[in-house]
């Protein structure tokens, strides 16, 4: 057994190099993904439906997205209070819950926030599903929360000026303000009975999502600075509710490796016999 030990060392060092490269590759993949999408982690045992400070949120990976003033359509605005939103999400296979977090120096009655989703297979422009001139786009579903109302409004739009509350209200929301930060929780069932108006969330599938925020402060004349289309907006990003863990690819990999090993074995046996 003596001559085997330097050989084993060599094999082990080769193996650990392969494992190291796998880890490095895997880590960089995860990193690239964090900045472009919101992931809803699958949890069992209760979602924090109206508690932005629940411990369960720590199991959701945070994502942060930059905001711009809405300039696409009049009335536009050139400067807004909120520069970034932090987003987390969780789901339990039945309901999804989003946590929106952003810095706002003052708590105002007219503070508000919204999530926007593409609905169906047709793509939509991120500005309220504004109609495209050359291609037919789809509608957007908007979940709108306002501090004053203390609840969410489930809305549909296909362009500026077409925004209206739906006849079926499926979304709940609750905002909590403390230390200069708004934390707003939105929740809804993953699927609803109105797929032509509501975004349908299938675990494992990527869906386009965008964000909007209104700082309800007033100027010296007592007028609202941010209202209606004058708000902070984000571009489209991706959202995905995690699918239940699927270990089948580990099994396929093990089968393939076993087949390769068997092939080697048969090949070498044949070669040895032939000589």
């Amino acid at each position: 057994m003596k001559p085997a030990s330097p050989m084993m060392k060599q094999i082990l060092s080769c193996g650990s190099a392969v494992i190291a490269s796998l880890i490095i590759g895997g880590a960089s993949l995860t990193f690239a993904q964090e900045s472009v999408s919101v992931r809803a982690t699958l949890v069992t045992g209760g979602l924090p439906l109206d508690d932005p400070n629940a411990a369960a949120w720590s199991s959701a990976p945070p994502a942060s997205f930059p905001m711009s003033p809405q300039v696409h359509w009049p009335n536009r605005i050139q400067e807004v209070t909120v520069k970034d939103v932090g987003v987390r999400a969780l789901h339990d296979g039945k309901q999804v819950v989003f946590l929106l977090e952003y810095a706002d120096p003052t708590q105002d009655q007219d503070d508000g926030a919204a999530l926007e989703f593409m609905v169906g297979d047709k793509k939509a422009h991120f500005a309220h599903g504004q109609p495209m001139l050359q291609v037919e786009g789809g509608p957007v579903n908007i979940w709108f929360w306002k501090n004053k109302a203390g609840k969410a409004v489930d809305m549909s739009a296909k362009g500026f000026g077409t925004l209206k509350p739906q006849s079926h209200q499926d979304v709940n929301a609750k905002g909590v303000y403390s230390n200069g930060t708004w934390k707003v929780v939105f929740s809804r069932n993953l699927s609803t009975d109105h797929p032509e108006e509501d975004v349908q969330i299938t675990p494992g599938e990527f869906i386009s999502i965008a964000f909007a925020v209104w700082d309800g402060r007033k100027d010296a004349a007592g007028e609202l600075v941010e209202k209606g289309s004058q708000k902070a907006v984000s571009s489209w990003w991706y959202f995905r509710a995690d699918a239940p863990p699927d270990y089948s690819s580990y099994m396929y990999a093990a089968i393939a490796a076993a087949l390769a090993l068997g092939f080697q074995f048969v090949l070498i046996r044949k070669l040895k016999k032939g000589q």
Partner: protein, 238 residues
């Protein structure tokens, strides 16, 4: 191992040529790794065909490989042999995992940055005379309507730009307005993000549809001011 020396040198040489020499030949570009793999596969099959043409060369070609696999009389290469025999199934398993596992990455977006404009917006020439007054006026309009996103320095870094993906065009960059005609800019300014065709998806452009707010003459003046301010000139076909 003598008979394997030449093929190995040939394969390595081919790889180095494809990877490091070919991209620098004028008019060429770096090859994608899938294409390099395909070329190497073709080279390898060429070598196998050549080496197995006669019975003699065939034996000389396969014999060392057989000896390596069976491990007979290979002395110090025994460790390498075990390494190969262990790594090959692992590699097969890894590749299988990679091709069957669900990806954590969002769908890729193959946006065409400068899609073709509709026919009526090709070949238009700027009807506004290129006088210092008109350029000056165009820069004034630019400052009022465009600079919040495209920047006072025409660099796409205006104060309102940060949340928009794609970022507002940087006009000082030689790959934007310098490679476009004035007619193209006229179309993009007039119709904005919603005027993009299907190949311009995913339609994240925040560019306003300025035709509903600004007269054509102002738009032509803005184009003039943009080229002048960014120190670029429009592309022409002469």
């Amino acid at each position: 191992m003598g008979a394997l020396g030449k093929p190995i040198i040939l394969m390595v040489g081919m790889y180095l040529f494809l990877k490091f020499v070919l991209p620098y030949i004028p008019g060429s570009a770096p090859l994608p790794s899938s294409l390099i793999f395909l070329y190497l596969l073709l080279t390898a099959s060429g070598i196998v065909i050549y080496e197995t043409l006669s019975g003699e060369s065939k034996d000389a070609f396969w014999e060392p490989m057989q000896r390596f696999l069976t491990g007979e009389k290979i002395g110090g290469l025994q460790a390498l042999r075990y390494g190969v025999l262990i790594l090959f199934p692992l590699l097969v398993g890894w590749q299988t995992y990679g091709s069957t596992a669900t990806s954590d990455l969002p769908p890729t977006e193959s946006r065409t940055i400068h899609p073709a404009p509709p026919g009526e917006y090709t070949g238009l020439s700027n009807p506004v005379p290129k006088t210092p007054e008109n350029i000056m006026q165009g820069k004034g309009f630019y400052a009022a309507f465009c600079s919040p996103c495209h920047g006072g320095n025409f660099d796409g870094k205006g104060p309102a730009a940060r949340g928009f993906i794609p970022a507002p065009a940087n006009f000082a960059d030689p790959t934007t307005i310098a490679m476009l005609q004035e007619s193209y800019l006229f179309w993009r300014i007039k119709k904005g993000g919603v005027g993009l065709p299907i190949e311009g998806a995913p339609w994240k452009s925040a560019m306003p549809r300025w035709e509903v707010e600004l007269p054509d003459e102002w738009i032509w003046k803005i184009i003039m001011g943009e080229y002048d301010g960014a120190h670029q000139s429009p592309r022409t076909w002469e």
